[in-house]
Every structure is written in C-alpha cells, then in structure tokens.
C-alpha cells in the first residue's frame, strides 16, 4: 500500500513531533503495576515450591499407593500410618452435604432475585444476601456446633455425635449460598431481555421462562458460580475444625465426627511438630492433594461449560 504524500508546511504550526514533556509519571505507574502483578505471580510460585518440595520428600518415605489408598490415618502414632482416604471421604461427605443444601437454595434465590423480585426488593435483598458472605467462618463454626448440633440435630437424631459431619455440611452449605446466588443472579441478569420477551410472547409462564430459557442461557455463568461455591466448601477449614471434630473416620455416616483434609492441615499445622519430621511433611502432601482435587474440578467444569457453549454457538 502506498501512502499519498502529504505536504506539511513548516509554518503550518504543527511543530515538532518529538516528545516534549518527559513522561516519568507514566513509567512510574507502569512499574508499580508490573510489580503488583509480579507479587501475586511470585507468591503463587513460592507456594507451589514450598508445597511441592516437602511433598516430594514425603513420598520418598511413604509410597503414593499407601497414601492414596490406605484406610488408616494415624500420623501421630509412633508407628504412624498415612492412608489419606479417611480425610478424603470426610471432605467429600461434608462437601456433598453442603452442595445438596447450597445448589438448590442458591439457584432458587438467584431465580427469585432475577426473575420474580421487583426492582425495589432486589435492591434490598441482594446486598443483604451478600452480607452473609462477610460473616467470619469461625462464627459459622460455632453456630454449627452450638446451635445446629446441640439445639436441632440432637433432637432429631438422639445418637448423633457432638462433633458430626452433618451440621458442618449444613452450615457450610448456608455459607456458600451467597456466592452461588449472587454470581448466578449476575449471569441471569445478563441474559438479554429479548429472550424473555420471546418466551413470554409464546405463552410461557414465569416459571417456564426461568427454567427453560433464562437458566439454560446463563448456564455457563451458573456453572462457574457452582464451581466457585464448591471450591470454597472444599477449602473451608474453620467450620469443619470446630463442628466436625478432629477424628479421622473412614465412614459415610454423616452423624459421626470426621476429619477433613483442611482440618487436618489446620490442626497438625498449629501443633508442635518438628520441621522435617514425616508428620510435618504429611501436611504438605495432604495440601498438595487438596490442590490437585480443586484443580481437577475446575478443569472438568471448564470443559463442561465449553462443550455446552460449542453446541449452541
């Protein structure tokens, strides 16, 4: 492409095109922003290395198979066993209870807020709901132990353990409702109103429009909300430490106490284990497994969302 010649007369007043003002401020800001990004990246690196190194050391003493498939977790015994399955089932049972509570309630709240509530009630309700997300988890933990277990559950299940998976799971579910509801509502609010109009104009009810048009159209955002909520549940530590007990227990019975991966890490980490001992390294091995599980879940859900999208775009 040849560009037409443009004659610029020197007297035209355009002046020099060279930079006249020094742009120190510009460079400074750039440097600050780069540093800010670098801090988080370096921290992530640091975490990965400080987890991976002791994990590798751990597996030089305990075989991966014994760790993954062993059914007894007694790291503090003289002849300790490192079968992580009791911690994994504890985590999964409690998370499953939380999910059973939080998915329907969170999605229901989101559908109500986005499709049924008037503008005025939405403006009041949504921030109120989000307030729930700001409650410290330690408060939820004591609520689970003192109220849910001792006032409610003991009446329904007389032989329930004082520390049990059920109350921890229920309260954890309540804890992640705001995350799921708020993000799902954002996704549904972003669905073009033309789609709703199209559905109503065909004689659909509100419920049909919400279920068959709005939710499917917002599905990728809703799945993202679910994943974030579930990730929070899996990584949650305080509620399970307080309400579910610290007894590793390979069981699916939610009325019993259970230790989760996170509550083991918290409890062992706050004890006085000597650095370099196998018990100490087991903390990192469990942490690493937790990381892998969360990571896999995120990957799978991203896949799911993408597959759904491909089908409809």
């Amino acid at each position: 492409m040849s560009r037409p010649q443009i004659a610029v007369s020197a007297a035209g007043g355009l002046g020099s095109l060279q930079q006249t003002r020094s742009r120190v401020g510009e460079k400074l800001i750039r440097a600050v922003l780069v540093a800010a990004a670098a801090v988080s990246i370096l921290t992530t690196f640091g975490i990965v290395i400080s987890v991976v190194v002791p994990t590798i050391e751990f597996f030089s003493e305990v075989s991966v198979t014994d760790f993954l498939f062993g059914t007894v977790w007694t790291p503090l015994f003289a002849d300790g066993q490192f079968g992580v399955l009791p911690l994994v089932t504890g985590t999964l049972v409690i998370t499953a209870i939380a999910v059973v509570v939080a998915l329907p309630l969170g999605l229901g709240a989101a559908v109500y807020l986005s499709e049924y509530a008037s503008d005025r009630s939405r403006r009041v309700l949504k921030p109120t709901l989000e307030l729930l997300a700001g409650i410290p988890t330690v408060v939820f933990g004591f609520f689970a132990l003192e109220f849910v277990t001792q006032m409610l559950l003991v009446r329904i299940f007389p032989d329930i353990d004082i520390f049990n998976a059920l109350s921890a799971g229920l309260v954890m579910g309540v804890m992640i409702i705001p995350t799921i509801a708020s993000l799902s509502e954002d996704a549904m609010a972003a669905v073009p109103s033309g789609l709703r109009d199209g559905s109503y104009a065909l004689g659909s009810t509100k419920r049909q429009t919400a279920m068959k048009v709005v939710i499917p159209a917002a599905l990728s955002g809703i799945v993202a909300a679910f994943v974030l909520g579930i990730s929070r549940a899996i990584g949650e530590t305080m509620i399970v430490t307080i309400a579910a007990g610290l007894e590793p227990n390979l069981s699916l019975n939610p009325l019993q106490g259970m230790q989760t991966m996170t509550s083991y890490i918290a409890a062992a980490g706050s004890g006085d284990l000597s650095t370099g001992s196998i018990e100490y390294k087991s903390i990192f091995a469990v942490g690493f497994l937790l990381f892998v599980m969360t990571f896999l879940m995120n990957m799978v859900s991203i896949r799911l969302v993408r597959r759904y999208r491909q089908a409809y775009q």
């Binding site: 008037s118 503008d119 073009p192 033309g194 789609l195 709703r196 109009d197 199209g198 559905s199 109503y200 104009a201 065909l202 004689g203 659909s204 009810t205 049909q208 068959k212 048009v213 499917p216 159209a217 089908a311 409809y312 775009q313």
Partner: protein
C-alpha cells in the same frame, strides 16, 4: 432507484401492493380499540386510540420514532404487563372479549396473539427446539416432528435447514433467524401475529423474503406490523394507521392516531396534512 422520487417509489410499491381491493368498511373484525390509552407510570404514552383490525389482513402502523407504535402493539398481547408501571385504560377487545378483562389470562392471550420482535431473539437451543418450544410449554399434543416441519415450511425456512435441525439456532444468518422466530411463533397456532419492525436488522434480500412470507401468512393469519419503511408498508399492508407524537397543553408529548384507512388511500390520497408530510418525507 435512487433517482426516483419518494412519491414514485411509493406509487410503484402501491401498484405491487395488496391493498387494491380493500374497502373502507371492515366486516370481519378481530380487534376493536376504543379510546385506548397506555401509561408508563404517570406518563401517558398514547392518547385515546380507536380503530378496528380486520381478519386476515395486514395492518401497518407507521409514524415517527417515539409516537408509541411499539407501546400500542405490545398492548395487543399484554406484553406491556411485563413492564413495571405500565398500564392500559379504555377498551381493547379481541373478538368482542376485553383483553384486559378481569377473568382474562395474559398467558392465554399471548398464545393466541403471537409476536415477532425487531431483533431476532432465537433461543440458545437447536433449530428444532426453538420451534418446539412454544408447543412444549403449552402442552400441545401431536407429532412434534411434523409440526416442526410444517412451521419451518410455512416460514419458508425448511429447505435451508432441514438437514441441520439439531444445529444451534445461533449458527443461522439474521434473516434466517427472523424466519425461525416466525416459525416458532406460528408453532403455537396463534390467530394473530404482531410484528415490531421485523426487518429493521435485515438486509434488503432478507427483507424481501420476509415480506413475501408475510403475504403468504396473511391467508391464514391476521398480521399487524410496525414499520419505519414506507415502501414496505405500501408493499405489504392492506390498511395503514399513521401515528404521531404531539405536545399537549401542558407541554407533554403523547402519541396519537392521526389517520387510518386502506393503505392505497393513506398513501395516495391522505386526508390529513401531517400524514401527507410524513409519507412524502417532509416530516420534521
């Protein structure tokens, strides 16, 4: 075309058009509007409109932007109910029944009176599921495959999509999407189809396909269309209603009906100066 005056374009559109045999009298009435007023909160968008819509005809609503054409059209199938604060006064009767009567179910109204919007609003579903959506939510019995084929055929889309019914509707072009929306609309077997600027986002070829389709559909359906395109109104409609927005004594703008009659008459011998100015492009 560009050298032709607007008058000449319109008159040729009229000669091609379908309004030749249309008489002033309407014998087969579908809608009767009597002093219909529509409000958004305190704001009155439309001053009393009185007119009748004839069965199996195409009625066009024309007029400058903001004169309340969409508002009026949306009151026919109670879509305005969905807008908080929107309210209707006066009479809007469908086959003699007050659409806003106390026992009337807006869902039932919308099932009988379908609507096609300016932007093709296909659902993020397959082509098949888009057409099947209305019958499914309305629990219409029968063979769905046959119904889908029938509606896509009527909407002049079947030949283009018959091999990819399972494909996403988003993969279609804008003009195809708008025909899919029409197929989806007739799948619930409405009697009336309301169209709010159905060709506004389409190119001329897609537009002429939709216009052709409207003429075919008018055999079976009653169609009310809002359009900004004068030639389109002249080409496809039997009757035309012209609206404007005018200031009242208090300085508030309201939409109102200026003139209504057979399209041929509105375009070739308008009774009102404002109509004449608007269709000849002299409107401010």
């Amino acid at each position: 075309m560009p050298e032709q005056s607007i008058e000449m374009q319109l008159s040729s559109a009229l000669t091609d058009g379908r309004s030749q045999g249309i008489s002033d009298e309407i014998s087969n009435v579908v809608f009767t509007l009597d002093d219909l007023r529509v409000f958004y909160g305190d704001y009155q968008a439309i001053r009393g409109v009185s007119l009748t819509i004839a069965k199996n005809e195409i009625t066009a609503f024309i007029g400058p932007s903001g004169c309340g054409k969409s508002t009026l059209l949306r009151s026919f199938n109670r879509m305005n109910d969905l807008i908080p604060g929107a309210r209707v006064e006066g009479l809007l009767a469908y086959h003699g029944t007050d659409v806003y009567g106390p026992d009337v179910d807006p869902i039932e109204v919308r099932r009988r009176i379908g609507m096609v919007f300016q932007k093709p609003n296909v659902f993020p579903k397959s082509i098949y599921d888009n057409v099947a959506y209305g019958p499914r939510v309305n629990h219409i019995k029968g063979n769905m495959d046959d119904l889908v084929e029938e509606c896509l055929t009527k909407a002049a889309l079947w030949d283009e999509v018959k091999d990819d019914l399972k494909k996403s509707a988003y993969a279609l072009s804008g003009g195809q999407q708008q025909r899919l929306v029409i197929a989806r609309c007739i799948a619930v077997r409405p009697e009336v189809i309301l169209m709010d600027e159905p060709c506004a986002s389409l190119d001329p070829i897609a537009t002429s396909k939709i216009e052709e389709l409207m003429r075919q559909l008018a055999v079976e359906y009653t169609i009310v269309i809002v359009t900004h395109n004068m030639q389109q109104a002249a080409r496809v409609s039997d009757r035309t209603a012209f609206f404007t927005a005018e200031l009242d004594e208090a300085g508030v703008r309201h939409g109102r009906l200026i003139e209504y009659g057979p399209t041929r008459q509105i375009f070739s011998a308008p009774q009102d100066k404002r109509t004449e100015d608007y269709i000849s492009g002299r409107f401010g």
